[in-house]
C-alpha cells in the first residue's frame, strides 16, 4: 500500500484542521497529492475512496468544507489506525533487573490510596502516614517506588528528606535510572536530594552527573555536588578553586569534600585554612582527616598556640578571647585522634591546664580547658584514663566528661565504684545551688538520664554518645536510683522484672495521679511502666483515663492515646473495650482510634 502518501494527506489534514476548514477549499498542497492518491486508487480501492473524499474537500466551499474535512479525517484516520507500527529492530537484551527481594504485596487500592495521596499531594498530617507506613514495612511494595521518588520534590521538606534518607535507599540501585531521568541540575531541594541519593547509591556511576551539576547547577545543587567530590584525584583542582569561591556555602562545601582526599594539595589547603578566616569551615574535614602531615601540622599549631597564650602579655579581653577561640578550634580538630603524638600533646596540655585556665578573655582559658577535657574523653584510652584519674580534682563542668571517659575505658563495676559516691555525697538541700556536691551529683545524673527518657519520640535520631553509655552501666546504678527514690534515674534505667523499681514506679504514679491528672510527668511514668512490662501498666492507664473522665472538662490528651497501642493487647483490649462505653462522648471519640489500632495490631 502507498502508506507514505496517506501520511502526507493526514499531515495536510491536520494542518487544515488546526487552521480551520475554511482555508481548505482549493488548498494547493492537498491538491498536489490528488494525482498520487488516484494512482494508488487504481490498485487499491480504498485509496480511490480517499482520493474522492480529498477531491470533495478541495472542491468544497466555506459551508461544506467542515463536513468534507471530517469525512476525509475519518477515512484516513481509520486506515492509519490499521497501519500502527509494532515491534522494534535490534538485539533484545535482558532487562537489567534488580530483584529487590521485596515481599510480594497485593495491597488493595483502598489501602494504597491514602499512602499514594500522602506522597503526591499537599496538606498536613502526611508525614505521619508515611512514617507509619514505613515502620509497618508497607513500602516493600513495588508500586510505591514511583510515588516515593516523586515525593523527593515534596513542598514539605521533611517529607522529602524522610523519603530520601529512609525509604528510597530500600530499593537500591534499581531506582538510579529514574533518579537520573528526573534530575535537573538547575533545580532546588528535590534535585539536591536526588543528587546526594544517586551518589550514595552509586558513587562511581554518578561522577558524570556530579560534574554536570558542578558546571551548570543551581547554587544548592552545586553545593551538594561539591560534597560528592573528593574521592578522585581529578576533583582536586576543581575543589582547590572552590575553596576560594565567593559564596560561603560553596567554600564550606569544598572544604568538606577535601576532607576525604588524601592528596598533598588538599592537605596543604587544609593546613593553610588553619591560619585563615575560613578555619571554622575546615574544622570538620581536618578532624576527619588522618593524614600524618596534617596531624603533625595541627599538633605543632596547637603547641604554638598554647605557647603564644602563655607568653602573651595581652590585657585586652577581646584580643585574648580571639586567641582562646583559636585554641578551642584547634583542640576541636584533635577530637577523635588516638595516635601517640596527639595523646602526648593532650596529656601535656592537661598537665598545664591550671595555667591555661588562668588566661582571661571571652571566651576564656577555662573554655579552652573544658574543650581539652572533652577532646580527651573522646581520645586514646590513656588520655581518657588520665582524665578519669583526675576526676576528684576536676571542676564541675568537666566532671561529666570524666564520667563519659570512664564509661569508655573502664569496666562498668569500676565506673560505679568511682562515680556513685557523687550521688550519695551529702548535700545541703536548703542551699543546694551553692553546694558543689549538688552540682556534681546532678551532672552525673543528667548524663545517665540523657538520651534515655522519651525514648519513643526520638527513635529516629538518638545516637548521642550518652545513650550508648547508659547501655553499659552497672546494674547497681538502678538499685541506687531506687534506694534514693530518684525517679529520673529509675525511668532511664529501669529494666523488666526489677521488683523494687516496679514498686517505686507504681508509687510515683500514684503520687503524681493524686496531685493532678494533667501532670505531664505521668506520661514519663506510664511510658516507663509500659517499657518494662510493668504488671500494673494497663491498670494504671485505665485508672488515669477514668480519673480524667471525671474531671470538669473531660478529655484524653494526645499522649495518653498514643500509649494505648503499646499496651499488652491480651490484657488491655478487653479492659479498654469495657471502659470505653463508660466514658464521656468526647473521650470516646478521642480514644476510639487508638483502641482500634491496638485491636488491629498483630
Amino acid at each position: 500500500m502507498s502508506i507514505p502518501v496517506l501520511t502526507l494527506v493526514y499531515d495536510e489534514l491536520r494542518r487544515l484542521a488546526i487552521a480551520g476548514s475554511v482555508v481548505a477549499p482549493g488548498d494547493f498542497r492537498l491538491k498536489k497529492l490528488l494525482p498520487q492518491l488516484e494512482q494508488a486508487g487504481a490498485k487499491a480501492p480504498v485509496f480511490a475512496k480517499v482520493a474522492e473524499a480529498a477531491g470533495r474537500l478541495v472542491e468544497s466551499d466555506e459551508k461544506t468544507s467542515a463536513a468534507a474535512l471530517l469525512e476525509l479525517t475519518t477515512l484516513v484516520g481509520a486506515i492509519l489506525y490499521t497501519q500502527g507500527e509494532t515491534g522494534i529492530e535490534g538485539e533484545l537484551e535482558p532487562v537489567q533487573s534488580t530483584d529487590l527481594g521485596l515481599a510480594k504485596t497485593q495491597a488493595s487500592a483502598r489501602v494504597l490510596k491514602p499512602l499514594l495521596e500522602a506522597l503526591t499531594t499537599t496538606g498536613s498530617g502526611r508525614l505521619e502516614i508515611i512514617r507509619d507506613a514505613h515502620q509497618r514495612g508497607a513500602f516493600r511494595d513495588l508500586r510505591l517506588i514511583g510515588p516515593a521518588l516523586a515525593a523527593l520534590d515534596d513542598t514539605y521538606a521533611e517529607i522529602g528528606d524522610f523519603v530520601a534518607k529512609k525509604i528510597l535507599p530500600l530499593y537500591g540501585q534499581a531506582i538510579l535510572p529514574e533518579l537520573k531521568a528526573k534530575f535537573d541540575p538547575k533545580g532546588r531541594s528535590g534535585d539536591v536530594r536526588r543528587l546526594v541519593l544517586m551518589h550514595r547509591l552509586d558513587p562511581a556511576g554518578t561522577r558524570e552527573i556530579v560534574q554536570r551539576a558542578l558546571d551548570d547547577g543551581s547554587k544548592e545543587v552545586r553545593i551538594a555536588a561539591i560534597e560528592c567530590l573528593g574521592n578522585s584525584p581529578e576533583d582536586l583542582p576543581f575543589l582547590l578553586e572552590q575553596v576560594k569561591a565567593k559564596a560561603k556555602e560553596v567554600r564550606s562545601a569544598a572544604f568538606r569534600a577535601l576532607g576525604s582526599s588524601n592528596a598533598d594539595g588538599a592537605v596543604q589547603v587544609l593546613c593553610n585554612a588553619l591560619g585563615s578566616a575560613d578555619f571554622a569551615f575546615a574544622i570538620d574535614p581536618i578532624r576527619a582527616s588522618r593524614n600524618p602531615a596534617l596531624t603533625g601540622f595541627l599538633l605543632e599549631a596547637a603547641d604554638k598556640q598554647f605557647q603564644t597564650l602563655m607568653a602573651s602579655k595581652e590585657k585586652d579581653a577581646k584580643k585574648l578571647g580571639k586567641l582562646n577561640e583559636r585554641m578551642v578550634m584547634i583542640l576541636e580538630c584533635l577530637r577523635g585522634r588516638d595516635d601517640k603524638k596527639t595523646e602526648k600533646l593532650l596529656l601535656d596540655l592537661f598537665g598545664q591546664s591550671e595555667r591555661l585556665a588562668a588566661v582571661k578573655g571571652e571566651p576564656s582559658g577555662k573554655d579552652a580547658v573544658e574543650r581539652l577535657v572533652s577532646v580527651m574523653a573522646a581520645g586514646s584510652p590513656k588520655a581518657q584514663s588520665a582524665l578519669v584519674d583526675a576526676h576528684a580534682a576536676l571542676p564541675v563542668e568537666s566532671l561529666g566528661e570524666a564520667f563519659v571517659a570512664a564509661c569508655r575505658c573502664r569496666k562498668p563495676a569500676q565506673v560505679f565504684d568511682q562515680f556513685s559516691p557523687y550521688l550519695t555525697a551529702k548535700v545541703n538541700e536548703k542551699k543546694k545551688h551553692r553546694d558543689a556536691n549538688y552540682a556534681k551529683r546532678e551532672a552525673i545524673v543528667s548524663l545517665i538520664v540523657m538520651g534515655r527518657s522519651r525514648r519513643y519520640y526520638d527513635s529516629d535520631e538518638s545516637d548521642s554518645n550518652q545513650s550508648d553509655l547508659a547501655a553499659k552501666l552497672d546494674p547497681r546504678w538502678l538499685d541506687l536510683g531506687v534506694r534514693l527514690e530518684r525517679f529520673d534515674l529509675v525511668q532511664a534505667l529501669a529494666v523488666p522484672g526489677h521488683a523494687k523499681a516496679n514498686d517505686l514506679l507504681l508509687k510515683f504514679f500514684k503520687q503524681r495521679l493524686a496531685k493532678s491528672v494533667e501532670d505531664y510527668e505521668l506520661l514519663g511514668v506510664l511510658e516507663t511502666m509500659i517499657r518494662v512490662r510493668h504488671p500494673d501498666a494497663t491498670d494504671a492507664v485505665v485508672e488515669l483515663i477514668k480519673k480524667r473522665a471525671k474531671a470538669k472538662r473531660a478529655y484524653a490528651s494526645y499522649w495518653l492515646g498514643h500509649l494505648i497501642p503499646r499496651l499488652p493487647k491480651d490484657e488491655a483490649l478487653p479492659k479498654l473495650e469495657a471502659l470505653l462505653p463508660t466514658l464521656p462522648e468526647k473521650m470516646i471519640d478521642e480514644l476510639l482510634d487508638y483502641v482500634t489500632e491496638l485491636k488491629n495490631s498483630p
Binding site: 484542521a17 487552521a19 480551520g20 463536513a67 509494532t86 538485539e91 532487562v95 508500586r143
Partner: protein, 481 residues
C-alpha cells in the same frame, strides 16, 4: 440466624469513617433499644441522634445476600452510621431482645416484598412501550444530534488552533443542551474534545502542550462526526419502528448516553449464567469529561478467557454517598452476569456474587487463555481500532517468551519472535508501570502472561502496549492498582 462480624460491617460501610462513627455510637450508649424480629431476620433499634426523638434504624436480612438497611435519619450516606452502629452492637454481643416489628418498619418490609413480587410479575409480562412518549424523546434526541452537528462543524470551520480555554468552556455551556436532549453520551463526547484545551486547574495550556493535543483533538472530531452519522441513523430507525429495542451488537446506544438497565440486558439475552471472574487490574480515575470518578476493574472470564471491565461511576456531586469499588483478590462466582453491548472488552455487571480464594489451577486457566501469537492479536486490535467509535485502548492477555530491552525501550517478545514495545502512556491517572519490570525477579520476565492495554499513538503512529499485570503460576503481580 444472622451472622455479622467487623469485616462484614466494614465491607457494607460507604467509607471507613462511617463505620468508625457507627461503632462510636455503640460505645457512647446511643442505642436506647436493640431488638430482633421473632423470626430473627431483622435487627432494629432506636438510636439517639441530634433530634428529639431517636431514629429507628434497622438491618433487614430477609434476603440474606441482599441485606436492606433503613433508618429514619436524614443522612444520605447509605447505610448510615446508625444502621452500621446497630450491626456493631450486634457484633459486639450487646443484648438484642425479640420484639414486635414496629408498624412503620413492617409496612416498609411488606411494601418491599410486594415490590419484589411485582417486579417478578412485571418481568414475566411483555413491557408496554409508551410509543408517543418514545417518539417525542427520539425526536428531541434527533434535534440534539442536529445541534451536535452544527457545533462540530462550527468547531471544524473555526480550527483547532483557534480554540482556547475560554472558548472551550463556553462550548461546554452550549453542550448542556445535549444533556437536555437526552444525549448525555454525546455531551460527554463533546467535552472529551473541549477538555483538551485547558489544564486540570482550568488554565490555558502552554504552547508546547497545545502542540501535543492537536492529533488527539483531530481524532476526537472524527469521533464526533462518526457519532453524528451513526447516531442519526440509529435514532431514525427507532423512530420508524418504536418496537425496536436498543441495538445490542454495537455500543452506539451507550455512546448516545443510554444507561442500560440490567432488565434490558437480560431481555436482550445479554446474560451469561454461572460465571467465574478474576480481577487482573484496577484503576480509579477522575473523568473530567463525564464529571465523575470512574472505578474500572479489568477481569478475565475464567470460562472463555474474554477480558471484561466493570465500571463504577461516582458523579462529583454524589461522591460522598456512593461507595467506591476496590481491588478484588478472589474469584468472583456470579450466578447471572450481564454483558453490555460492545466489541472487545465489554462492560459487565452483576447483582449478587460469592467469593472464593484463587487457586493455582485458576492461574493456569488464565495463562491458558493468554494469546500465544502477537501477530494475530495485533491484527485483531487494528481491525478493531479502525472503527471510529471503538474503544481505543483494548486489553489483552498475552503469553510472552521474554521481556527484554532494545536500547532504552522495554520489549515483549512471543515464541515466534514477534515483538511489542511497551509504553507508560495510557489511561488518565493510571500509575506508571514499566519501570517496575526491572524490579521483578528474573523468572517473571520469561514465559509468563502479561495483561496489557494497547494504545495507538496518533503522532508517532506506533501501536504499543501498557503492562497492567503479570500472571505467573503462583500469583498475579499487579503493576498498577
Amino acid at each position: 440466624m444472622i451472622s455479622i462480624d467487623d469485616e462484614f460491617i466494614l465491607a457494607a460501610a460507604p467509607n471507613a469513617e462511617a463505620a468508625k462513627n457507627g461503632r462510636g455510637l455503640v460505645l457512647k450508649n446511643k442505642f436506647v433499644a436493640l431488638h430482633h424480629s421473632e423470626d430473627e431476620t431483622l435487627l432494629f433499634g432506636r438510636c439517639q441522634g441530634s433530634g428529639r426523638t431517636p431514629y429507628l434504624c434497622s438491618a433487614d436480612f430477609a434476603v440474606p445476600d441482599k441485606p436492606v438497611y433503613r433508618c429514619t435519619c436524614p443522612s444520605r450516606q447509605f447505610p448510615c452510621k446508625h444502621s452500621l452502629g446497630l450491626m456493631y452492637a450486634f457484633a459486639l454481643g450487646n443484648p438484642f431482645t425479640a420484639a414486635e416489628v414496629p408498624e412503620e418498619l413492617a409496612s416498609k418490609r411488606e411494601k418491599a416484598a410486594a415490590r419484589v413480587e411485582k417486579k417478578k410479575a412485571e418481568a414475566a409480562q411483555p413491557r408496554k412501550v409508551d410509543k408517543s412518549a418514545l417518539a417525542k424523546k427520539i425526536k428531541a434526541q434527533l434535534d440534539g444530534i442536529d445541534l451536535l452537528e452544527r457545533l462540530t462543524q462550527d468547531l471544524v470551520r473555526l480550527g483547532i488552533g483557534n480554540i482556547n480555554a475560554k472558548t472551550a468552556k463556553e462550548l461546554e455551556e452550549h453542550a448542556r443542551q445535549l444533556g437536555n436532549a437526552y444525549l448525555p453520551g454525546a455531551q460527554t463526547a463533546l467535552r472529551n474534545y473541549t477538555r483538551l484545551f485547558y489544564s486540570a486547574d482550568g488554565d490555558e495550556l502552554t504552547a508546547a502542550r497545545r502542540e501535543a493535543i492537536y492529533s488527539e483533538a483531530l481524532d476526537q472530531l472524527g469521533r464526533l462526526y462518526a457519532l453524528i452519522g451513526k447516531g442519526r441513523g440509529y435514532l431514525q430507525r427507532r423512530l420508524e419502528d418504536p418496537e425496536l429495542a436498543p441495538e445490542t451488537d454495537t455500543s452506539i446506544a451507550a455512546w448516545l448516553g443510554h444507561a442500560w438497565q440490567l432488565r434490558e440486558l437480560k431481555e436482550a439475552g445479554l446474560v451469561e449464567e454461572n460465571v467465574e471472574l478474576v480481577q487482573l487490574a484496577f484503576n480509579s480515575c477522575d473523568d473530567r469529561a463525564r464529571r465523575e470518578f470512574v472505578d474500572t476493574g479489568v477481569w478475565m472470564h475464567l470460562g472463555n478467557g474474554r477480558i471484561h471491565i466493570t465500571q463504577n461511576y461516582r458523579p462529583y456531586h454524589a461522591v460522598k454517598y456512593i461507595k467506591s469499588d476496590d481491588s478484588f483478590f478472589q474469584v468472583a462466582q456470579i450466578r447471572e452476569l450481564c454483558v453490555y453491548p460492545g466489541e472487545l472488552n465489554c462492560r459487565v455487571r452483576w447483582e449478587g456474587m460469592l467469593a472464593r480464594p484463587i487457586e493455582p489451577k485458576d492461574l493456569e486457566r488464565i495463562r491458558g487463555h493468554g494469546r500465544n501469537e502477537f501477530a494475530s492479536v495485533v491484527k485483531e486490535v487494528k481491525s478493531h481500532l479502525k472503527g471510529p467509535l471503538a474503544d481505543k485502548y483494548p486489553i489483552f492477555a498475552m503469553n510472552y517468551r521474554r521481556i527484554g530491552t532494545v536500547g532504552s525501550r522495554l520489549v515483549l517478545e512471543d515464541s515466534k519472535g514477534e515483538r511489542l514495545v511497551m509504553t507508560d502512556a495510557g489511561m488518565n491517572e493510571e500509575p506508571r508501570s514499566i519501570h517496575l519490570l526491572s524490579l521483578l525477579p528474573k523468572e517473571y520476565l520469561e514465559r509468563q502472561t502479561l495483561i496489557a492495554r494497547f494504545r495507538h499513538d496518533l503522532d508517532t503512529r506506533k501501536l504499543e502496549v501498557k503492562p497492567l499485570s503479570i500472571v505467573t503460576g503462583s500469583d498475579v503481580v499487579r503493576l498498577t492498582l
